[in-house]
Symmetry: C2
Subunit: 254 residues, 2 copies
């Protein structure tokens, strides 16, 4: 199976390598800057390109993994292609590709950084396609990349993407705020790492509601007040503390 | 070494078991309700008590692991004891025990649930003591319980406790909000679990600042606006989304 990748960012990098490991032949990587295209192309044994004039037109699969606002622009170059064209965006409707002949979505729900490697077979993949035949092919490919493949529609994928912002990006920002508090008091972020791991581990086989701990779920207003006082010099942290404590109380009905 | 435990909650349960595994002899567990005292006493081969009149007065160690507001009340019963009296609270000053002869703090920075077992040797322990001799003994004991023992003062311990609320309790509440969004849209929380794990894994050898992803750090205001619109029916979630996105932007200076 011949695959063309458009894009060379975090998602494209991890996905292209997963396709490669699954035995697919990545023929070309197309990206705006040659340097980025070349870096990914080198990793997966492909040719690097910066424009679409040299793109091979008879590949089986075209994976568009670019920033959301560039997807429709890129799709224009793929309208007369017979292969299946997919994008990898959680926040973009499948219909952004509806000028293509066969199209779909292959959305990986994971946080990718180029410098961090991960086991792609555990990454949940969410697929959607324009027609049954394309869905069948897309499903076969997805199952070679990951053990966790789900069919979802555009609306559900939007909810997945929004939920991911809460459990990943916002969670990471809370790690960041914790790191800042520690640093301001000559304490090492390393001290928080085991707690961070355990907090994530606990919800791997239980639900967050069941395992909540801390002052807000205990209704321990004295500790909450002490913490708010400690945060008086940092109004932004104070607001976040207040809002999330209220959220915990509401969830547990205090 | 003979140890008396006062308390039978989540922290007492995990800690008493760790003392036991480290070869200490837990002689008694004292708790307000006999049922709870008995449950923990059975786990560690101790006698269960509900009041202090029968407490053995020549143990080497007394561990007070009760709710913060009960610590001073409990400490009254331990004033004439020669053994070392410690509490396990992050939010309580060591001086809460200053009527005792030898006293200190043994604070485990971890989220404990009775139903969840964990490897105690990886739990960071923060110690403080009233005198050098007690600190030496406390340090020896702590090092038998865990590989990660740190000396901190009361003020630093308060910061650790506050930081833990951010990276554990608030993080778990974000998992909860994600779970609610998923459930409201007939999606399974299971789909988010690999992302939750990876988000925690990423900061085990890097810093949160380096690995942030998502719309806010990219300055992708279109996606942020779409998400805020999706959250219009849920004002509490909308506020949290806004506040944490602003926090990410501020951290990364947009």
């Amino acid at each position: 199976m011949n695959v063309v990748f458009i894009g060379s960012g975090n998602v494209a990098t991890h996905m292209a390598q997963a396709f490669k490991s699954a035995g697919c032949n990545i023929t070309q990587v197309i990206s705006k800057t040659l340097e980025n295209a070349q870096m990914l192309a080198d990793r997966v044994g492909a040719i690097a390109l910066t424009d679409f004039s040299m793109m091979m037109r008879d590949a089986d699969f075209y994976v568009i993994s670019v920033s959301d606002h560039s997807i429709t622009t890129v799709a224009k170059y793929l309208e007369a292609i017979d292969g299946i064209v997919v994008h990898t965006s959680g926040a973009t409707a499948m219909n952004a590709l509806n000028k293509c002949r066969h199209y779909g979505v292959l959305y990986p729900l994971q946080t990718f950084s180029k410098a961090t490697s991960l086991d792609f077979s555990g990454v949940p993949l969410f697929i959607e396609a324009s027609d049954n035949e394309s869905l069948k092919v897309l499903n076969t490919v997805a199952c070679r990349l990951s053990k966790k493949v789900y069919n979802v529609n555009t609306e559900q994928r939007g909810v997945l993407h929004l939920s991911a912002v809460f459990v990943c990006n916002f969670v990471n920002q809370l790690y960041q705020l914790g790191a800042e508090l520690m640093k301001d008091n000559q304490l090492d972020f390393e001290m928080l790492r085991p707690l961070i791991m355990e907090t994530a581990m606990k919800v791997q086989n239980r639900f967050p509601y069941e395992v909540q701990t801390g002052p807000a779920v205990r209704g321990d207003q004295r500790t909450i007040n002490n913490h708010l006082k400690m945060l008086e010099p940092a109004p932004a942290l104070n607001d976040i503390y207040q809002l999330l404590s209220d959220s915990i109380k509401k969830t547990h009905e205090y």
